[in-house]
Amino acid sequence: MIATNVRRLALYLLLSFAVVSAGLSWWQVIDAPTLEARQDNPEVIVARRTMPRGAIFDAQGTLLASSRLSGGISRRSYTDPAFAHVLGFSSIRFGTSGIERAWDDVLSGRTDPNPLNDIVNDILDRPPTPSDLTLTIDQRLQDFAASQLGGDAGAVVAIDPATGAILAMTSTPAYDATPISGDPDDAPAAYARIQEQAGNPLVDRARQGHYTPGSIMKIVTASAALDSGAITPRTTFADQPQEETEGFVVQGFRVREHDLSPVQPALWAFSEALQVSSNIFFAHVGLEVGTDAYLDYARRFGFCSPLAIGSSPRALSVTASFVTAEQDGDCSEFSDRAELAQAAFGQGRVAVTPVQMALVAATIANDGVMPQPYVVRDVRAHAASASTGPSDRILETYGGGGGTRVVSSQTASQVRRAMVDAVQAPLGRLYAGAGAVSNFGITGVSTAGKTGTAELGPNTPPHSWFIGFVPAQGTAQPAIAVAVIVESGGSGSGRAAPIGGAVMAEWLKLHRN
């Protein structure tokens, strides 16, 4: 009797040991990579403190970040503050951010880009070999964009619409990450100095800035309306001319037009309405689309959830953009039709990141397909000497891969033509003409664009927005799509549009030969 029970006990104990062994395997084998990537893991800290770290180069092979060992400490230096936000920092004291964080395992050499090598290295107990990164960003364009923003707070994001390659992504004010990535004893003071500076330089406005978009949102509204069949390019709203002066009442809320002068109100169809950026027209369009379909299209464009630059697990995350109130990190339903009418022209609860709006422009430029953005082009063997340029041994190459269709090809070309009109046609030129690349020495190339003037209330100057792409004539494949925001920069046409035009023109000049 006892012997039988002892035998059963033995079985239970055996099972318990098996469960503990399974728990052990979980941490030691299955979850080990996750544990090893955590910032406060002593292994990560020790490695950051003493080990060499891979260098980072721009698309042309210009050095952006490198490490050297001195006094037993690995010190990292950065060559260009225009890259401060996208690169982030690798600090012994403050951990990592930006690309330095997303690619920490490769830069530190903790994992090999090739998983097979990882296993071999583990078995042979080889020391970590750091690798170098090459970005898709061209330093010349990045610096040009940063200089265009000048002393203003803002951001510029430029994407190759066909591939999703990030061509420029800069946020101002910037900061120098070198002092906080060097001696751990000096880092806290340097970090505090940056925190004290005006304009909160540590915030990456391109990825984390949350802004009211104003009229650039009309591109999303128009795409949803044309693609769902709610309107055609010829649709007009009979009451619209009268409402331009009196206002358009939706559920007790009166939608008012912005200052149209010198243009006189008329019965406008899609292209003219976009050229003069009629809030009344697009409020009607939004209501035609309806709340559910509008949210649906917004989600297709990438709103309502975080975006990723690059792919998991080494993705740079982009804060989610919203078209309605945020609810648990997602868009809530529209509370009423008045909210939808306002969202349709980019006011109300809409809050967007510059990366999101650059992707909207890139989607129209790319025939309705939203490219998958990426910023690291390849991983290379660690360069013998970072100052002499990157190694020729490429270990891994990345591309945008696929992309997702958001609207039909036909819708994209209709919106594209209207965006060209918005910059170049007689009415549009009055508002967004400053965004044309022809102003910056580029001839024979059409510019598509849209300005935005995000009203923030009676006592605050509006944010100045521009999104656009070139070349946009006929069926030409656009080479660059941009989003520009200048915080409290006034009207879109006054500040953001010329920056957008200049940046796109600069890119065409750099690649003319």
């Binding site: 006892i2 002892v6 035998r7 033995a10 469960v19 503990v20 030691q28 002593p42």
Partner: protein, 438 residues
């Protein structure tokens, strides 16, 4: 069976020396030699005394202890010196001395305890002594790290909990051997509900109360869990009724829940278990760091001397006691940790075999209780360190640093040897009777 030990321990010492000093010589070998010689001497002492006990118990214990010695020798420089035996010694030396004390106690019990009546007949006396020791600890014990577990006799501190564990097993074994059939078969009916005979369950309630007292006053969750686990295991083996275990587990969960509401230190432990990463530098620090250690170790380990855990945050508290299993995982990998668990499991199976071959209920129950003590203790600390259950301060038998734990564990092995010796003698006598039979 002791032969692998001759290689294992010196090899571990040499590997540690080479890895930490960078020199290609074997380094100091005195402690390794002392340990191996001690175990061989214990073996020959048993042989010389004509001992017929289980032949695998000592080799298994010596091998598990050998792994422990290698780890403690490696941790010694990181942990630093401690005051022990009135001397300023490093932990590896102290542990070897305690091994000596433990082995001597084991031999004394294994060879000296020819008759178990002294245990069987005075079970209430033993129980009283245990409770007295418990109360004494609550009243006069020294609080270390928030738990009152220690009593100091001059320079030598010991943890009464380890010895109360033994006394508890002796008492329960005696009680259950006497009342086994009643507990198993008698049933009271309360309408349609069948309940066990209440008077015979009183000891169970008494034990439950004692265990909760340990939690409340001693703040020693690990020991409480272990006591309760031993009790339920023995009750199960004696009666074969799973319902007792089920009710016991439910009672324990309910008690723990109440305790977590009443006492902040219990609630903190549970929070740190549910999500240690919520506060990785505070309440969850130890758990998070030990998980990192396992993660770094991977399948094959970083190698002896390579663990980062002992120096995490300067000096990681409990690395030589509660968290030694994490260091094993980091340096010897999952493979090494599995091997250690397998050895512990083999030891448990040998102990249960002793119980199955026992000639009387008391010996059987005693062997079950003692073995369950070793097995559950290993499971509780290993499961705690790998975050399967809340982490409780308790030692890994024969591996963790600590004199009381080592001495108590060797007393258990001594008792198991004594029981298996009598089993063998009884089997011989039986065989002899059959042969000489008419």
């Amino acid at each position: 069976m002791l032969l692998p030990l001759l290689v294992l321990v010196p090899l571990g010492f040499a590997a540690t020396h080479i890895a930490t000093s960078g020199k290609a010589d074997v380094g100091p070998m005195q402690l390794a030699a002392a340990y191996v010689v001690m175990m061989l001497a214990a073996h020959f002492a048993l042989v010389a005394a004509g001992h017929r006990g289980d032949p695998l118990l000592l080799p298994l214990v010596a091998t598990i202890g050998g792994v422990g010695m290698v780890m403690l020798n490696r941790l010694s420089p990181d942990v630093g010196k401690t005051a022990a035996f009135g001397l300023d010694l490093d932990i590896a030396t102290t542990q070897v001395l305690w091994f000596g004390v433990g082995v001597a106690a084991m031999l004394a019990v294994a060879i000296g305890l020819r008759d178990d009546r002294v245990l069987r007949h005075y079970k209430y006396t033993w129980a009283l002594a245990g409770i007295a020791l418990l109360v004494f600890t609550f009243l006069f014990g020294t609080e270390v790290n928030g738990a009152r577990l220690w009593i100091y006799l001059g320079p030598i501190g010991f943890q009464p909990g380890e010895f109360i564990k033994l006394v508890l097993v002796v008492f329960i074994a005696g009680y259950l051997a006497e009342h086994r059939t009643l507990l198993r078969d008698a049933v009271w009916r309360l309408g349609p509900i069948r309940i066990p005979p209440l008077p015979y369950l009183l000891p169970m309630l008494a034990i439950f109360v004692i265990v909760m007292l340990v939690v409340v006053f001693g703040k020693d969750l690990g020991t409480a869990l272990l006591f309760f686990g031993i009790f339920l295991t023995m009750l199960f083996v004696a009666t074969g009724r799973r319902s007792y275990v089920l009710v016991g587990v439910l009672l324990f969960l309910a008690g723990s829940f109440v305790a977590s509401r009443l006492f902040e230190h219990v609630a903190r432990r549970i929070d740190a278990w549910v999500n240690p990463f919520a506060d990785p530098s505070g309440a969850g620090y130890q758990t998070v760091q030990s998980l990192y250690a396992f993660g770094r170790g991977g399948l094959f380990g970083e190698g002896l001397g390579q663990s980062l855990l002992p120096t995490a945050g300067g000096r990681f508290f409990g690395v030589e006691t509660d968290f030694i299993f994490a260091v094993v995982g980091e340096e010897l990998g999952a493979v090494g940790a599995f091997a250690l668990l397998a050895l512990a499991m083999a030891l448990v199976f040998r102990g249960l075999r002793v119980a199955m071959l026992a000639r009387d209920d008391f010996s059987a129950m005693l062997a079950v209780g003692l073995t369950a003590g070793l097995g559950l203790q290993t499971l509780i600390i290993a499961a705690g360190v790998v975050k399967l259950i809340p982490l409780t301060g308790i030692t890994f038998p024969f591996v963790s640093y600590g004199g009381s734990s080592l001495l108590a564990s060797f007393l258990i092995v001594g008792l198991l040897l004594a029981i298996s010796h009598r089993n063998a003698l009884a089997a011989d006598a039986e065989a002899g009777r059959v042969e000489r039979g008419p």
